[in-house]
Each structure stands twice: as structure tokens, then as C-alpha cells.
């Protein structure tokens, strides 16, 4: 489904990604862990098409298409979804209008009929239960004045409504209390099927207890320096990143 080959990228002259290789197949859950500043969000942003990054080398193929050539909205319509680490506030745009517009654009692209306001609201209400979101948030402007946790739930709500093929969750767990963490993880799990895939970026093993990964990768200094199964996450939790750093240093 997604294949990243030797991806090198920089921003404002700083080399951040230094050769990323990653294969994701339908039905899989991948977790990326790594110390602060190692380039996790950068990778996520590049996959979603944020401007400002310069891809210097490598390629990203998504469902047979060269992802890097597509505009951000085209990627979204193809099924790439990024739950942002720091979701932006958009004053004046209500959650409902925003989400309805997005959904209909994606549906159009998939050859489905557009939903009218009533059908849309019915769908959204159903999905809100999934993430246990306060219905009053729906009428408010996108993320404006939302608490950290509310923003994260809102991201997952959008994901639940838009039904992406590849969901990238950038530290969706940070800022969530324990109950919310479970709810969000359950939400993600219930959306999982054999055709879609999930890439979670996280610092904590806790999320992975609920959202069990098939693969765990460690990103360090712009490279994936270690991959394994879910036990790798446990090992990291126990030992920290130092041994990875040493190992990465040795292999250089």
C-alpha cells in the first residue's frame, strides 16, 4: 500500500530525514517511536504534503501512485489521513461545515453521491459516539478553544468520518487521559479492517497496549535504525533510547 524508499528531506536548509525506508501493507498497524526531534512529525507532514519541506531524494509510492507529486487534497482523497500532533485552530469555520465539505469532496472523488446536511449529521452523530465526543463541539469552530484532549478526539472523529485507507496518527495519545486513551484506541481499532492501515507515532508503550502494532520502528536522527515487533516497544520503555543511540553510532 505504502512504500517509502530512501526518503531524504530538509527544511530551511536543515537535513531532517536522511534515508527512510518503510513498507506498509493493507491491514497492518505500524508504530514509529523515537526521541524528540528525530523527524517523526516531519515524515508525517511530508506524507501529507505540507509545503516548506524539500524532498532531496527517494520516493513514496501509495497505491501505485507517486504520492509526492500530488497536492495535499489529492492525497487526502486518495485516502491518506494525518491526525496532527498539534491540530490547528480555524476560527470561524464550524466543525460541521468543515467536515461535510471534506467528506463530500472525498466522496465525489470516490464516485459516491454527496451527502445532504441531514444524512451527514446522522453519520457524524454516529461516529461521535465512537470517540465519545461532546456533541456541542460539533457546532464550534474547528478546534478553537478545544482542550488538548478534545482536539485529539476531533482528529479521530474526522478520521472516522472520512474513512481513510492509510491513517497516520502523530502522537494522538499525548494529552489524553487514560480513559480517553482507551476510547480513542478503541475507536481506531473499530475502524480497522483488512483494507486499511495505520501508522502511529507515539512515545509511550501505553497506547500500544490498546492499539497493538504489527511492527515497531525506531526513528533516530532521520533514519529508521531498528525495527521489530511489539516487544521492541516494551524494550524501549524499559531501556530508553540510549542503547539505540549507541547502536546507531556504532553502525555509522
Amino acid at each position: 500500500m505504502l512504500s517509502i524508499r530512501n526518503l531524504k528531506a530538509s527544511i530551511e536548509g536543515n537535513h531532517i530525514l536522511k534515508g527512510i525506508n518503510l513498507e506498509i501493507h493493507p491491514g497492518e498497524v505500524h508504530a514509529i517511536m523515537g526521541p524528540n526531534g528525530s523527524g517523526k512529525s516531519t515524515l508525517a507532514h511530508i506524507l501529507a504534503g505540507k509545503e516548506g519541506y524539500i524532498v532531496e531524494d527517494g520516493e513514496v509510492i501509495f497505491e501505485g501512485k507517486n504520492l509526492l507529486e500530488l497536492a495535499p487534497e489529492e492525497r487526502a482523497r486518495e485516502g491518506v489521513f494525518l491526525a496532527f500532533q498539534y491540530p490547528i485552530e480555524i476560527p470561524g469555520v464550524s466543525n460541521t461545515t468543515f467536515l461535510k465539505t471534506a467528506l463530500n469532496e472525498i466522496r465525489k472523488h470516490r464516485g459516491l453521491s454527496e451527502l445532504d446536511a441531514m444524512d451527514f449529521l446522522t453519520l457524524v452523530r454516529k461516529r461521535m459516539k465512537l470517540v465519545d465526543m461532546d456533541p456541542s463541539l460539533l457546532g464550534r469552530p474547528v478546534n478553537e478553544g478545544f482542550s488538548g484532549g478534545e482536539k485529539k478526539r476531533n482528529e479521530i472523529l474526522q478520521m472516522a468520518v472520512l474513512e481513510p485507507r492509510l491513517a497516520i496518527l502523530d502522537e494522538t495519545d499525548s494529552g489524553l487521559d487514560i480513559d480517553a486513551l482507551k476510547t480513542v484506541a478503541n475507536g481506531v481499532n473499530s475502524l480497522k479492517n483488512k483494507d486499511n492501515a495505520t501508522l502511529v507515532v507515539t512515545h509511550y508503550q501505553r497506547l500500544l497496549d490498546y492499539l497493538v502494532p504489527d511492527y515497531v520502528h525506531v526513528l533516530f536522527d532521520g533514519r529508521i535504525v531498528e525495527s521489530g515487533d511489539k516487544t521492541l516497544a516494551l524494550e524501549l520503555e524499559r531501556k530508553g533510547y540510549d542503547w539505540i543511540k549507541t547502536k546507531a553510532g556504532d553502525s555509522k
Partner: protein, 452 residues
């Protein structure tokens, strides 16, 4: 001897007070205003406060005071479009500055509230008129303020008692009716708040036809200690009319005043807001939206004077300029020497949508106290890049994202209006201007109704 400015004198030759003033206070006030008016020059581009607003075309016309027939044969249907879908409110309707009780609805007001026309109040409450008339209007040297003072044809007098809290807003509706000439419509309003009270006041300026009218209103607001006044002003006149309105507010200790100004109408409009924070703990919030198209000119001038320590003010004015329109923001924050611990912020943002539109911004800080936190910002330019990306990353096309964000840019100000029906009315107007790229009006309505 008063030196008379010939252009000034010529401009008002067909103006006169509609009725003979019974009240000596009003008579005196008119006389003073007239004298000041005659010595004030007619506004021109060379005057700093009129730097971007060219009135030379207007100067060639002669406004004419209303006549009695203007007010006859009007029915409730005529004012329905401005009822915000029959929002529950106490309404006073003025046509060309003249109070029309048959269209108004102020019977159910509480016992201690007074809401009547200024001329009746002058009979019943002469002391108040003496005490308040012209006292919040401290803008020396302003032509249109004096013009109103000399020739206003009535206005609203609202007196809110102490300890009064009401959910039901008071709506002052100023409508214009034209004829062949440039009709002059001038109301003079006094709003006097008691202590510990809380009220929402809506002022709407609209047109009953598409003929040109020169509206020239002055509202003086005396907020009460520890009170909250929400004041929403909508300028929705037809695009052949002119609007010169000023709102002058004094905000005493611990009182809060919030003003939202939304301007969509008139060929030339000038909105003057002059607020003085006179007591500790006072708070003033000004929101403004001016959305111009065609050849509209929208001029906004605000002055916030911090005269007391420990007061806070905040201003957000936004302009969206399309077509050949011009939008002006001229805002001043003045902090007097004794006004220590002031916090004052001001923001003006404009979007230009066409290559023939203009935006001028003149945010000013004049500060004489040192222990203050003051800031202003002004931007003219594009929509927020990060917001654009967020929308696109959810599958929304660039064009639609732009239209959504333009609509949102405006909504932000409308959101500060506390009354759902008024908000909805404005959302719809703005949606029709900016949001049409991304949905039908029906869809829009059903979505927003859900939210209200």
C-alpha cells in the same frame, strides 16, 4: 464672531430640526452644535482623520430634512426583513430619524426601564437630558457630530435601572425612506445604564427602498458601574446611501462594554467609535467587520482612551474588500499618564479579494504611562497558510478552502454577537457573498440551524 466655513454652511442649507423643540436643553444644545458646525470645515482628504475618505462628491449634494409624509403608510410588513425572523425583542423603530410608535413594540418592558423617544424624555426627564446630552460625545472638531447635534430629528432614550438583568434584547431599528432628493436621517440616542445591570442592545441601520439617504446618527452610551452592555450595530443600508455614525461610550469602574460593528451596506460609510475607560476594572471590547464590494467605501475610526489605571481594552477589526471597494481602519489607543497597569490590544486584519480594491490601515498607540502592556497589529494579505493546509489535508480543494476561510475570516467577528437570530441572519448574508463555492444555501441553513 464665529468664522463661518462657506462649504459647511452650504452643505446644511436645506436642513432644519423637524419640530420646534419644547425643551430648552435641547434648544441650547442645538444652538451650540450649530455654532461649532459653522466654524468646522467640511471634511476633506487633507484632514488627517479623513485622509482616505473622499467626500467631494457628497459635498456637491444637498441633504434635505425629512417631511411628515415620509413616515406615513408604513406597515409592520415593511420592517419585517429587519426583525431577524421575529426575534424576541423590544423594538423601537425610527424612520428617517423620526420615532414611529405604530411599528415599535416596547410595551412589555419592565417597570423601571424607560425606553422612549428623546423628545418625550426631554419633557418627562429634563434633568437627564441636561446631565447627559452631548456629554459622552467628546469628539471635538468632528463635522458630522455637530451636524447631527444641530439637525437631529429625535432619537432613542433608554434608561436601564440598577440591578436589571434581561435576556431580551432591545432593538433600535433605524430605517430610511428616500425620495428624489438626498434625504437626511439623523437620530440622536442616549443610553444610560444603571449599576449591576446587564443588557444587550442592537442598533440596525437599514433601508426601506433603494433611494439614497444620508444617515447621520450619534449614540451616547453611559455604562453603569459593574454593568455589562453588549452593543451590536449593523449597518445594512442600500448601496446608494451614506452613513456617518458615531458611538461614544464612557465605561466606569468595573463595567464592561462590548461592541460589535458589522458593516455591509452604504456607498460611503464612516463608523466612529470613541470609548473612554474612566474607572478601575473597566473593560472595553470592540469587534468590527467591514465587507465592501463594488465601489463601497468603508471607513472605521476608533479611539479608546484609557483614563484610569487597571483598565483593559481589546479591539479586533476585520475588512474584506472586493470589487473597487476601499476599507479603512484608523484606530487609536490613548493611554494617559495616570492610567498605569493598562492592558490594551488592537488588531486590524484585511483581505483584498480583487486587484482594484484597497485597504488602508492606521493603527496608532499614544502612550504616556509606563506600566502598561499595549500592542497593535495590522495585516493585509493572504489567508492563513497553515489553515489552508489543514483543510487541504482533509481533501478540500484550494478554491473551496479559500472560500471557506474567507467566510470564516468574517464569521469570527459575527461570532461575538450573542443573539442567535442576528448571528444567523449575518452568517447567511456572508455565506451568500463568500461561501457560495462550497454548498447551497439550503444546506448552509440546515447546518447552521442545527448549531444554533
Amino acid at each position: 464672531m464665529i468664522k463661518t466655513d462657506p462649504e459647511s454652511a452650504a452643505f446644511c442649507q436645506h436642513l432644519h430640526p423637524l419640530f420646534h423643540d419644547q425643551s430648552s436643553h435641547i434648544r441650547n444644545f442645538r444652538q451650540q452644535s450649530l455654532e461649532m458646525l459653522q466654524s468646522s470645515p467640511f471634511p476633506a482628504l487633507k484632514h488627517e482623520e479623513w485622509k482616505y475618505t473622499d467626500l467631494s462628491e457628497l459635498a456637491k449634494q444637498l441633504p434635505v430634512s425629512p417631511v411628515l409624509s415620509d413616515f406615513q403608510n408604513l406597515s409592520v410588513n415593511d420592517v419585517y426583513p429587519y426583525s431577524f425572523n421575529q426575534m424576541k425583542s423590544h423594538v423601537m423603530v425610527f424612520v428617517n430619524g423620526h420615532f414611529t410608535p405604530q411599528l415599535s413594540n416596547i410595551n412589555k418592558l419592565g417597570r423601571n426601564i424607560v425606553a422612549e423617544n428623546l423628545f418625550s424624555a426631554a419633557k418627562r426627564n429634563p434633568e437627564d437630558i441636561k446631565l447627559y446630552l452631548g456629554k459622552a460625545d467628546k469628539k471635538g472638531n468632528d463635522y458630522f457630530s455637530y451636524l447631527n447635534g444641530a439637525f437631529f430629528t429625535d432619537g432613542a432614550y433608554i434608561r436601564i435601572p440598577d440591578n436589571y438583568q434581561s435576556e431580551i434584547p432591545i432593538h433600535l431599528l433605524f430605517l430610511t425612506k428616500g425620495n428624489g432628493e438626498l434625504r437626511y436621517s439623523a437620530a440622536r440616542n442616549l443610553i444610560i445604564m444603571g449599576k449591576n445591570s446587564s443588557v444587550t442592545l442592537v442598533e440596525t441601520y437599514g433601508s426601506l427602498d433603494d433611494r439614497p439617504v444620508l444617515t447621520n446618527s450619534v449614540t451616547e452610551v453611559f455604562n453603569g458601574e459593574n454593568s455589562l452592555l453588549r452593543h451590536h450595530i449593523l449597518q445594512l443600508q442600500n448601496e446608494r446611501s451614506h452613513y456617518f455614525g458615531s458611538t461614544n461610550i464612557t465605561i466606569p469602574a468595573n463595567s464592561r462594554y462590548q461592541n460589535t460593528w458589522v458593516s455591509l451596506g452604504s456607498k460611503i460609510s464612516r463608523n466612529d467609535v470613541d470609548a473612554a475607560l474612566t474607572g478601575a476594572g473597566s473593560y472595553c471590547q470592540l469587534y468590527g467587520l467591514y465587507a465592501g464590494r463594488h465601489d463601497q467605501l468603508m471607513d472605521n475610526r476608533t479611539v479608546i482612551s484609557h483614563r484610569s489605571p487597571h483598565a483593559t481594552s481589546n479591539q479586533v477589526y476585520k475588512g474584506i474588500l472586493d470589487g473597487f471597494s476601499r476599507g479603512i481602519f484608523n484606530g487609536k489607543i490613548l493611554v494617559e499618564q495616570k492610567a498605569q497597569k493598562t492592558e490594551a490590544h488592537q488588531l486590524n486584519r484585511s483581505l483584498i479579494l480583487s486587484d482594484k480594491a484597497h485597504a488602508d490601515s492606521k493603527p496608532q498607540l499614544k502612550i504616556f504611562a509606563d506600566d502598561v502592556k499595549c500592542s497593535h497589529g495590522a495585516t493585509v494579505g493572504q489567508l492563513d497558510k497553515n489553515a489552508m493546509f489543514y483543510l487541504q489535508s482533509r481533501g478540500v480543494s484550494k478554491e473551496i478552502a479559500r472560500s471557506m476561510l474567507t467566510f470564516a475570516f468574517a464569521n469570527d467577528v459575527v461570532d461575538s454577537i450573542i443573539l442567535g437570530p442576528v448571528r444567523f441572519y449575518l452568517y447567511k448574508k456572508l455565506f451568500n457573498r463568500f461561501g457560495r463555492d462550497w454548498g447551497s444555501e439550503e444546506d448552509f441553513e440546515s447546518l447552521y440551524k442545527q448549531e444554533e
